[in-house]
């Protein structure tokens, strides 16, 4: 019996293959975008895990100091009996982090597997200066002038492990970056604090990459969820139509004695079977999307957080299983309403296909009421939320509320426009558009969401970029940046520069722990460069004088927001060193707390810290010549001197890279919304014959009808776009004023870019017109006889 009933139900899809393809593709697209984002997140997190585990950084305490540990300090501690392992770290090329280790004392770990128990390999590692790298890193380094490479799959991407001596030679340093403290130490040792002035640092979860990048991945997840929701609109629309068209079959089957329970089970099984097929297609698409986007994401994470993420995707069975589950859940969510309708349908319900998805006036009123509630909730969350999750909840409420309000707003606009319509075709166009709104509302909601997301994210990125460029100009006022290797070299270079530049400004900082979190304190000299350019958001009038006198501190916006610091608040910077906050400055792109004090005040507290970095003021035209001269005279390495232009260009490149993925997801979401519109118009075209046939019979040529159909779709898309712009702006405001503040600790001024909206409007119209071309062409190509069948079946 089940087979017979299933066959009867399945026959619908044989007769409507386009509907089946729509359903499978819609579900697959929804799954693809969601699971693609999840695959990217999983790959990135796996990379963070590998990086965190390298050299026991996630577990072992370390000793370090600004400027590096000297060999003498290390030897003294070893002689005192402490079991320590030295590590030298640094960047050799833009994408290559060198980690130098002492293979005999380094903690055991998977990355060193090629050396374990192999005396020859170990000897070669030390003697030949072999670099252990991941296969993908080796591929990227092909042709570089480096020591021999040896592959180890467990080395994090973008990292090379080598002998400490080789690392020091490559990085041109004689210092040790830090000393790892073995967990078990001989008993009876003198305490470290009494032996050394080095800082003991405990692995700090709050600064781990995974935590730093959480908000970035949350953003990606939110986009994936939005795309998933847009895809589900397609699915719900296709399922709704299919179930509506099968009302007659369902009634007949029930009349023939098939129980409602059995019918529901079979319909659910049918949906599950379709979802399984869609899941496989969706996983393949999702894998492709993730593989295509991953290099961009890896670049973003490298630029934003210095996180090395593998640029290639590995297949994860857990990811596949979660994609399958999400597809099934999506299909269940999208099909729930249709199944509920079947369950509630009386046995003797009229069998003729009711106007599918024609929401009644009451349904639209209920929908509008729900929309208002959600919009009020969004406003409440924006004003009083106070957390990142509240920010995302606010975004969700805003988007869903706006989407639900769309049909009522469209109806009102069309009703208003009808008053100004002249001519019967214009009247028909508007009246018919009004009647189509309920049937097209799901697709138009999807379009609204995609457009609003585009406007919102575009406004956020545009505002951010404009602010960022201005901020860079302020922050990077000096023309040349210099990094020296030793105090002696610093003295020599700055001495040489003293008479050949306008000013040499020390760029000196010390890492500290303030209020339980890591921070960096910078010392600045009193100079017009800072007074005239520093991007202060708020300050006391005597801020720079206070700083010069050692009586004040500037804090970055992130710290001010996190610790709720205001101007005048006292801030303890160390034992007996408390000064008031005299200014708050913007510090985009920095995930940590940062402070600025007067140079003398900092030097008094940290007299032993070498000053190795400097900003140099000189005529821009003199910069290239000065760089060449300094390199030659002091044998400085390539990355020791950077001109302002290069630093700005690098910063902007990182910035633009950051939003490549967002842009790609934006386009994909718009594509999905266009597909939703196409499927709705296609399914609707069969139901449109009773609308079109009388007009045709009264003497309106098919070409004119086709143009009117196109104009109607364009009108609905244009109105949806017009409504999406304010929603997008609200979205941008939430992103800038709520989510960014919670996620990154800074707030950006909001700027608007009307040119971008017009461009988006053009794309929305193009997408809508492309989506309606096929249905309209089908109408145009339809023989008159088909239209005549609307009126009667008798020939």
């Amino acid at each position: 019996m089940n087979a017979a009933v299933f066959q009867a139900l399945w026959s619908h899809w044989r007769r409507h293959p386009v509907q089946l393809v729509t359903l499978v593709l819609g579900l697959a697209l929804a799954t693809a975008l969601w699971s693609g984002v999840q695959a990217i997140n999983a790959e990135a997190r796996a990379s963070y895990g590998r990086a965190a585990a390298l050299m026991g950084q996630d577990q072992l305490d370390r000793l370090q100091t600004p400027g590096g540990v000297t060999l003498q300090q290390y030897v003294a501690l070893r002689r005192a009996g402490w079991d320590l392992s030295p590590v030298v770290e640094g960047r050799l090329l833009p994408g290559l982090r060198i980690v130098g280790i002492d293979p005999l004392s380094a903690p055991p770990q998977p990355a060193l597997a090629p050396l374990a128990g192999d005396a020859d390999a170990l000897a070669a590692f030390v003697r030949d200066g072999v670099l252990l790298v991941a296969p993908e890193t080796a591929a990227e380094l092909k042709g570089a002038d480096l020591p021999p490479l040896r592959l180890s799959a467990d080395v994090p991407p973008g990292t090379a492990i080598t002998d400490i001596g080789v690392a020091q030679r490559l990085l041109r340093t004689d210092r040790i970056s830090h000393l790892l403290i073995a967990r078990s130490q001989p008993s009876g040792l003198a305490p470290l604090e009494s032996l050394t002035a080095l800082d003991r640092v405990t692995p700090d979860d709050t600064s781990s990459l995974a935590q730093l990048t959480d908000s970035f991945h949350l953003n990606l997840t939110a986009f994936g969820l939005l795309s998933f929701a847009v895809g589900l609109f397609i699915v719900q629309s296709a399922i709704g139509l299919a179930f509506e068209q099968r009302r007659a079959a369902v009634r007949t089957l029930r009349a023939l004695g098939v129980s409602l329970r059995r019918l529901m089970l079979l319909l659910a099984a049918e949906l599950a079977a379709i979802a399984l097929v869609a899941a496989v297609v969706g996983m393949a698409l999702g894998y492709g999307i993730a593989a295509a986007l991953l290099p961009g994401v890896a670049g973003t994470l490298r630029g934003l957080y210095g996180a090395q993420v593998s640029g290639t995707l590995s297949f994860d069975p857990f990811w596949a299983a979660s994609a399958l589950v999400i597809t099934l859940l999506g299909a269940a969510a999208a099909g729930a309403q249709a199944l509920w309708r079947v369950a509630r349908m009386p046995l003797l319900a009229p069998a003729q296909p009711r106007a599918w998805a024609m929401a009644s006036a009451r349904a639209i009123r209920v929908q509008t009421a729900a929309a208002l509630c959600l919009l009020f909730a969004a406003a409440g969350l924006a004003l009083w939320g106070g957390s990142l999750m509240a920010g995302f909840a606010c975004l969700a409420a805003l988007l869903v509320g706006s989407a639900l309000a769309l049909p009522m707003l469209l109806l009102a606009l069309l009703r208003g426009a009808a008053r100004f319509a002249r001519g019967p075709m214009a009247e028909w166009l508007l009246a018919d558009a009004r009647q189509q709104v309920p049937a097209l509302s799901l697709a138009l909601m999807a379009l609204l969401l995609a457009l609003a997301a585009n406007v919102g994210v575009g406004t956020m990125v545009g505002s951010f970029r404009t602010t960022f460029v201005g901020w860079l100009d302020q922050r990077l006022a000096p023309e040349l940046y210099l990094t020296t290797r030793t105090a002696e070299e610093a003295a020599a270079v700055t001495g040489y520069l003293a008479s050949r530049s306008d000013a040499v400004l020390p760029n000196w900082s010390v890492p500290v722990t303030l209020r339980g979190a890591p921070a960096q304190i910078y010392g600045v000299v009193d100079h017009a460069t800072y007074r005239e350019n520093w991007p202060l958001l708020s300050s006391r009038t005597d801020a720079w004088d206070s700083l010069a006198a050692g009586n004040g501190v500037l804090v970055n916006e992130q710290m001010a927001r996190r610790d709720r610091l205001a101007l005048g608040d006292p801030l303890a910077l160390g034992d007996g060193w408390t000064v008031p906050v005299v200014g708050i400055y913007s510090d985009y792109g920095n995930p940590s707390a940062q402070l600025i004090v007067g140079m003398d005040a900092l030097a008094a507290r940290y007299p032993d810290q070498p000053q190795l970095r400097f900003a140099v003021r000189l005529a821009p035209a003199a910069v290239p010549g000065m760089i060449a001269e300094l390199r030659q005279r002091f044998d400085l390495p390539a990355d020791a001197l950077r001109d302002q232009g290069a630093v700005k260009a690098a910063s902007l490149r990182i910035f633009d890279q950051t939003f490549v993925v967002t842009g790609a997801l934006n386009v994909l979401t718009l594509g999905v919304a266009g597909f939703a519109l196409l499927t709705s118009l296609l399914t609707l075209s069969a139901l449109r014959l009773p609308q079109v046939a009388p007009v045709w019979a009264m003497g309106v040529a098919p070409r004119r009808i086709a143009l009117t159909e196109l104009a109607r779709t364009a009108l609905l898309a244009a109105l949806t776009w017009a409504l999406a712009v304010p929603v997008g702006l609200a979205l941008a405001w939430v992103l800038l004023a709520v989510v960014n503040v919670q996620a990154f600790g800074w707030r950006l001024p909001m700027m608007v870019f009307p040119g971008g909206w017009l461009w988006l409007g053009f794309w929305a119209l193009t997408a809508a017109l492309l989506a309606s071309v096929w249905p309209v062409w089908r109408l145009l190509a339809m023989p008159g006889g088909h239209l005549l069948r609307v009126f009667a079946n008798d020939r």
Binding site: P424, A431, P694, G699
Partner: protein, 217 residues
């Protein structure tokens, strides 16, 4: 006024070509009302569609006021439907998204011949004055057909073609609707060719022609 000669029409079906009309010739004079009767499948609607420029014959000629219709292109046929020939079907004559008053005026405005006085007179005679703001779905079958008649007559067409306009109505309503149709046609001085299964209704028209197996008898 209307003259059709040797019309043939066939359709492609899954069992091969189906010859529906086999050389039909018919004339309708100005102001005349003609009933077209015949069994189901005899080709009545097909003939009506050819005469109304809704379809084209395989062969044969059709002239209206001496002008040939059979060789017009789609735009030409649309123009005839707009201005010279009005068609009333058995069902779904009205545009669902427009109100009664908008439907009544629609064809006349398309043709650019809207006459408010004439429109008002038709509306009143058809008893539609109280229904003007309603939508088709809010009307009974009889009311819908009255609106269709009003819309068809609003252009004062030379010929009204009606395809079983009362086929979906009960006897009393059908009588009333036909009465209004005949009255309206007479007032607009149009000719009428009406397909009907009902000998009783056919008898109320000035002439009856019978179609059998694709030929007029």
């Amino acid at each position: 006024m209307l003259s059709a000669r040797d019309l043939t029409k066939s359709f492609i079906t899954s069992e091969g070509p189906l010859q529906v009309l086999r050389g039909v010739s018919v004339d309708v004079a100005a102001g005349e009302s003609v009933a077209l009767t015949g069994e189901s499948g005899s080709g009545k609607s097909t003939l009506l569609h050819l005469l109304g420029c809704l379809d084209v014959p395989d062969s044969g000629t059709i002239t209206l006021q001496g002008a040939p219709l059979h060789n017009l292109d789609e735009a030409g046929r649309a123009r005839v439907r707009r201005r010279q020939v009005s068609v009333i079907f058995q069902q779904l004559n009205l545009i669902p998204s427009l109100t009664v008053v908008q439907n009544l005026k629609f064809q006349a405005r398309l043709a650019g011949v809207l006459d408010p006085d004439w429109q008002g007179e038709i509306t009143a005679r058809l008893g539609l004055s109280t229904l003007l703001d309603r939508y088709p779905e809010q009307l009974s079958g009889g009311q819908q057909q009255r609106v269709a008649i009003g819309r068809a007559l609003a252009v004062r067409p030379e010929l009204v073609l009606a395809d079983e306009p009362t086929g979906n109505l009960d006897e009393a309503t059908a009588d009333a609707v036909l009465e209004l149709l005949l009255d309206g046609v007479a007032r607009s001085r149009s000719a009428l060719l009406m397909v009907t299964h009902s000998p009783r209704l056919a008898a109320r028209l000035s002439r009856v022609v019978h179609l059998q197996e694709g030929c007029l008898r």
